[in-house]
Amino acid sequence: MWIRLILGMMLLTMGIFLSGCNGARESEEVAYIVAIGIDKAEQEGMIKVTYQIAKPNVEGNKGEGEKDTVLISNSAVTIAESLNLLNSTTSLVPSMSHVKVLVVGQELAREGLANMWGSLKRYREYRGSMFVLVAKGTARNFLEANKPSFNISASKYFETMLDSGVEAGYYLRVSFHQFYIRLKSNSAESYATFVDISDLTGKGEIATPKVAGSKVDGYTAGGIPLQGGNPIQFAGTAIFNGDKMVGTLSTTETRMMAMLLGNFNNGFLSMEDPLVPKKFVNVNLRLGSAPKIKVALEEGRPVIDIKIRLEGEITNLPSGINYEQESYLRLLEEQVNQVCHEEMANMIHHTQELKSDVIGFGYYVRTEFTNYQDFLQYSWCEEYSQAKINITIDTKIRRTGLMIRTYPVK
C-alpha cells in the first residue's frame, strides 16, 4: 500500500517536472492567425508574409463596418524568420493552430515554392489542414479585399467558402497536406484553388463556348461578372509542375477534373437542345460511380482509358420537346456524353500541354512496372504529355425533376 502510494507520488512528480508540458497560455494572450499570405517582396530574394489575425471583440460593441481581423505584413528571408518578426511586433503570441488558408501570390507561385514548403511542413505549429489558395494578384491584396457580405468572421468565411465550393465543382479545395503529398510525388502534380478579386462592375468578359453543343464556357477567378457582395472570387484551379505554377484551369475544366478525381458532387450543365440548337436544355449531373481509369503502355507510350458514369436529372427544357419519353431521352443523354467528352478531352489536352498531371494518372500507370525503380526511370511527367486518351462517358438521366412532362407555354 505505502509502496504504491510512494511510487504514485514519484511518478506524478516526475510527470510534472520531466514532461515539459508547461506551454500553458491563456486564450486572451494568443493572437489567432486566420490566414497567411505569401508574396514576393520588393527586395531581391525576400518574401513578404501577410498575417490575418482575428481581433477578439472585447468591448462587445463593434463599430459598423469595422473588420474583425487585422492584416500585418512583414518582409523576411524565410517564413520562420517572418514569424519571429511578427512575434516581436505584436503584443500577443501568434498561434498557428487556427490558420484556415495559405494564400500564395501568383508571381511567387510561378517562380517556385520549394524554399517555402520546408518550414511550413516541418515546424509543428503549422497545421496540414490549412487550405492552399493561389491569388492571381498578390496575396496581400486578396486578403485586404476580402469583405464577407454576410455577418460571419473571416475564419468562418474561409471554412464555409471552401466547403460549399465542393457542391458545384467550380473550384476544388486542397489542404496543405494533400498539396505537399503531390509535391513530393512523381505520379501526380499539385494543384491549388485559384482566387482573385473582382472589380464588381458586373461586366466581365463573356465566355464563349469552345465546345460544340455546350452553351457556356468556364471562367477563372476574377472573370465571373459580379455585382455586389464580396469582391473576392474562388474559381478554377492553379496547376503546378513540380513546385512551379504553370497555368490555370477554368471552372468547367475544374469540374471535369473533379469528375476524374471522383469528388464531383453535382452541378448543372447547360447545353444546346439536340433538336432545336437555338434553345438550351439544363441537366443536373452527378457521378454515378467512381471513375474507372486504366493506363496501359503501348510501345512505351501510355494509353489512358477513362470510363465515367454520370447520372442526371432534367432541370429545364424550354423547347417543350418531350425529352422525358424513352425515345427522346436517349438523344439528351447522347448530348451530355458528347459535351462532357469534348470538355474532358480539352481539359486533359490542356494539362498535357502544360506537362502537369494534376489528375494523378501516374498512380494508375504504376501497375505497369515491375518495380519502383523502373517507374522512376520512366519519367512519367514527360510521357504524360504524349499519352493517348480514350474517354467513354455513359450518362443516365434518372429523374425528370418535379415535372413528368413539358407543356408548351400558351
Partner: protein, 573 residues
C-alpha cells in the same frame, strides 16, 4: 457587604487616610490567595470522597460477586429482598428504573422495568392482573396452585398472559433484557427471573424515503427501529431462506446489527466474511451505519463508497435476491448492502419501473454524467490554456473575447467557481429547511449572473461548472457523487499543470484505482470490462425487459444463477 464590612471594621482609618484599601488588610481570611487555597482543598476533598464512594461501590460489587462466576455481576438468590437489593445496586442512579413490588398469592413479587421503554398497560393486563388476581378469595384454587408452583416455568406457562416470556437465570442477560425494554419478574422463593417482552418506546413511523425518492416505486423507507426494518423486508418475501442473523456491536451501547441474506443464493463464504468483519469491530458506541461501513470496507482511504447504502426496503430485497448481503443497524434509517460495485451504484429504482428502452438510455446518460462530473472542468482548463487548436476557430476566438474581460488565469477561475459551488451546496445542506430556498436563490443569482457581470468568471466556465454540478447530482448514490466531487479538484490541478497529458494521467490513475478497489472480493469497476461477466451488461450498461433478465448477475456469484424458472424456488437448499 464589602462596604458594610469596611464601615464596621476600619471605616475611621479609611477616612483618615482618604483612600480605599484592600479588605484583606483588615480581614486576613478574605484574602484572594487564601480563599483560592481553601477552595482547592474543598475540591480535593470532594474528588477524594467521590473516589471513595466509587471504591466502596466496587468493593460492595466484589463482595457480592463472591458467589458469582467471573463474567456475572451476581447470582440470584431465592430471597426476593436480597435480589432486589442486588438489582438496586446495579441500577443505582438510574432513576428511570421502576421497581414494583406486589403480592402474588401469598408471596412477594417484584417487577422491574425501564419507564420509557415498557408498555405498562400490557404489563398491567398480562402480568400484574393475572398474578394479583390470584390473591382474591374467589380464586382459592389458583391461589393454592400458585403456592404450590415452585418454578418460574410453570408460572409463565399457566398464569402469565404475555406473548413472549423467557426464563433467565443469568443476571447479565436479565440486566441487558431490562435495558432493552423488557420487564423482569422476580418472585420470592425462586432463584430465577422471567423476562417479559413488552417493549414499547417512542419511535418514528414508517415514512417515505427522504433521499432516495422513486417516481413509481414503493414509498416505504427504513426507519430507526431494527425490528420494523426487518419486518419491512420480511413482509415483501415469504421465504424461509431469507435469514436474519442478529449481532451486538459496541461495548457500551450493545447495538443490534442484523445481517440479512438468502441462504440458498448467497455466494458461499460471503456471509461468514461479513459476520467476521462485524465481529471484529471494537467500538464503545455505534450510532449509525456509516461507522460499520468504515470498519468493514477494504480500502478506507478511497473516496469512493465501497458499500451501497439504501433506505429502501425494496432495493435491499432486490439485492438480497441477487446474492448480496444486507446489514441493518439499529438506530439508523440508512442500511448497508455488500458487495458494492460501480454497476450497482449506477442503478436507480426507477430504472425498473420505466420502459426498458428508456431506462437503458437513462443508464447511458448517467454513465456519461459520471464522466463529465469528474473530467469536464479539467478538460475545459486543459483545452483553453494548452490546446486552443482543438477548438473550432470561432469558439477559440469567442473564448478569447470572454476571457479578455476576466483578470484571472483559467485555473484560478475554475477553482474559484468550484469553491463557490461547494459553499452553496454545503450551505443548502446545513441550513434549516425554510432557509434553503433563500440560499439557493442567492446561489442562483451569484452563479447565474453576478459573477459574470462582476468580471470574475467568464460565462463559458459558468456553463462548464454548472454542467458538472448537475451531472454529479444525477448520481443515484449520494456517496458516489461526493466521491466525484472530491476527485474533480485534483483533476483540475493536473490539467492546469500538464494540459491534456495531465487529464489522461488522471483518467488512468482513477481508472486503475477503481479497478483495483475490491469490495468483499468483487472488483469495483473491473466487472464492467470482464469478458466473463459480459452477460451482466444486460442489467448494467443497458436494462433489458424483465422477461429477459433470466439470470442473476454473475458478478456476485449467486449459488443459483437462474432467476426465472426455478422449479420451486428451493433449489440448492
Amino acid at each position: 457587604m464589602w462596604k458594610i464590612l469596611i464601615a464596621g471594621k476600619g471605616g475611621s482609618v479609611i477616612k483618615n487616610k482618604k483612600c480605599i484599601q484592600k479588605l484583606s488588610k483588615y480581614m486576613p481570611e478574605a484574602s484572594l490567595a487564601i480563599a483560592k487555597k481553601k477552595l482547592e482543598q474543598l475540591q480535593d476533598i470532594i474528588t477524594q470522597s467521590a473516589e471513595f464512594g466509587e471504591e466502596i461501590g466496587q468493593i460492595i460489587a466484589q463482595l457480592r460477586k463472591v458467589a458469582a462466576p467471573s463474567n456475572e455481576p451476581f447470582l440470584f438468590t431465592s430471597v426476593l429482598t436480597e435480589n432486589e437489593a442486588l438489582l438496586r445496586a446495579v441500577f443505582r442512579d438510574c432513576e428511570d428504573i421502576e421497581f414494583r413490588t406486589f403480592d402474588a398469592g401469598n408471596r412477594k413479587a417484584l417487577l422491574v422495568y425501564l419507564k420509557g421503554m415498557c408498555d405498562t398497560s400490557n404489563l398491567e393486563r398480562n402480568v400484574l392482573k393475572s398474578l394479583m388476581g390470584q390473591t382474591s378469595p374467589t380464586n382459592a384454587n389458583t391461589v393454592n396452585a400458585l403456592n404450590g408452583l415452585n418454578d418460574m416455568k410453570a408460572i409463565s406457562e399457566q398464569i402469565l398472559g404475555s406473548a413472549s416470556v423467557r426464563i433467565v437465570k443469568k443476571a447479565n442477560t436479565l440486566i441487558e433484557a431490562i435495558m432493552a425494554g423488557n420487564a423482569l419478574l422476580l418472585i420470592d422463593g425462586l432463584a430465577e427471573g422471567a423476562s417479559i417482552a413488552a417493549v414499547k418506546h417512542v419511535k418514528r413511523d414508517i415514512s417515505a424515503p427522504y433521499n432516495e425518492y422513486a417516481l413509481q416505486g414503493p414509498d416505504e423507507a427504513f426507519n430507526e427501529e431494527i425490528n420494523d426494518n426487518i419486518a419491512l423486508i420480511r413482509r415483501r418475501a415469504r421465504d424461509t431462506n431469507l435469514k436474519v442473523h442478529i449481532m451486538r456491536v459496541g461495548e457500551r451501547t450493545k447495538t443490534s446489527v442484523a445481517v440479512l441474506y438468502v441462504a440458498n443464493l448467497v455466494k458461499p463464504g460471503l456471509v461468514e466474511e461479513v459476520k467476521r468483519r462485524i465481529g471484529l469491530i471494537k467500538k464503545d458506541k455505534l450510532l449509525n451505519s456509516a461507522t460499520i461501513d468504515q470498519f468493514i470496507v477494504d480500502h478506507p482511504w478511497s473516496p469512493f463508497p465501497q458499500t451501497q447504502t439504501t433506505e429502501r426496503p425494496d432495493k435491499m430485497l432486490a439485492a438480497l435476491y441477487e446474492g448480496r448481503v444486507g446489514i441493518i443497524v439499529d438506530g439508523t434509517p440508512v442500511e448497508i448492502l455488500v458487495p458494492c460495485t460501480y454497476n450497482v451504484l449506477m442503478q436507480a429504482p426507477d430504472d425498473y419501473t420505466m420502459q426498458p428502452i428508456v431506462a437503458s438510455l437513462i443508464r447511458f446518460s448517467r454513465n456519461a454524467a459520471a464522466f463529465l462530473a469528474i473530467y469536464l472542468p479539467a478538460i475545459y482548463v486543459a483545452v483553453v490554456s494548452y490546446h486552443p487548436g482543438m477548438l473550432p476557430t470561432t469558439m477559440a476566438i469567442s473564448i478569447a473575447e470572454l476571457r479578455a474581460r476576466t483578470p484571472f488565469p483559467s485555473f484560478l477561475e475554475a477553482i474559484m467557481m468550484e469553491i463557490l459551488l461547494e459553499l452553496i451546496q454545503e450551505a443548502i445542506i446545513r441550513l434549516p429547511l425554510k432557509l434553503t430556498g433563500a440560499a439557493s436563490m442567492i446561489g442562483a443569482f451569484i452563479i447565474g449572473n453576478t459573477v459574470v457581470q462582476a468580471g470574475l468568471i467568464n460565462p463559458l466556465l459558468v456553463v462548464v461548472i454548472a454542467t458538472t454540478a448537475i451531472s454529479s447530482y444525477s448520481m443515484p448514490s449520494y456517496h458516489f457523487s461526493m466521491a466525484l466531487r472530491w476527485t474533480r479538484v485534483p483533476m483540475l490541478i493536473l490539467a492546469s499543470m500538464l494540459g491534456l497529458y495531465g487529464v489522461i494521467l488522471g483518467v488512468l490513475a482513477i481508472t486503475i484505482h477503481l479497478c483495483s478497489l475490491r469490495s468483499f472480493g468483487e472488483s469495483y469497476l473491473g466487472g464492467m470490462f470482464n469478458v466473463d461477466l459480459l452477460s451482466d451488461w444486460k442489467d448494467s450498461v443497458v436494462r433489458l425487459p424483465a422477461k429477459l433478465l433470466k439470470e442473476r448477475p454473475k458478478e456476485f456469484g449467486a449459488q443459483d444463477q437462474i432467476r426465472i424458472g426455478d422449479s420451486d424456488g428451493q433449489s440448492g437448499s
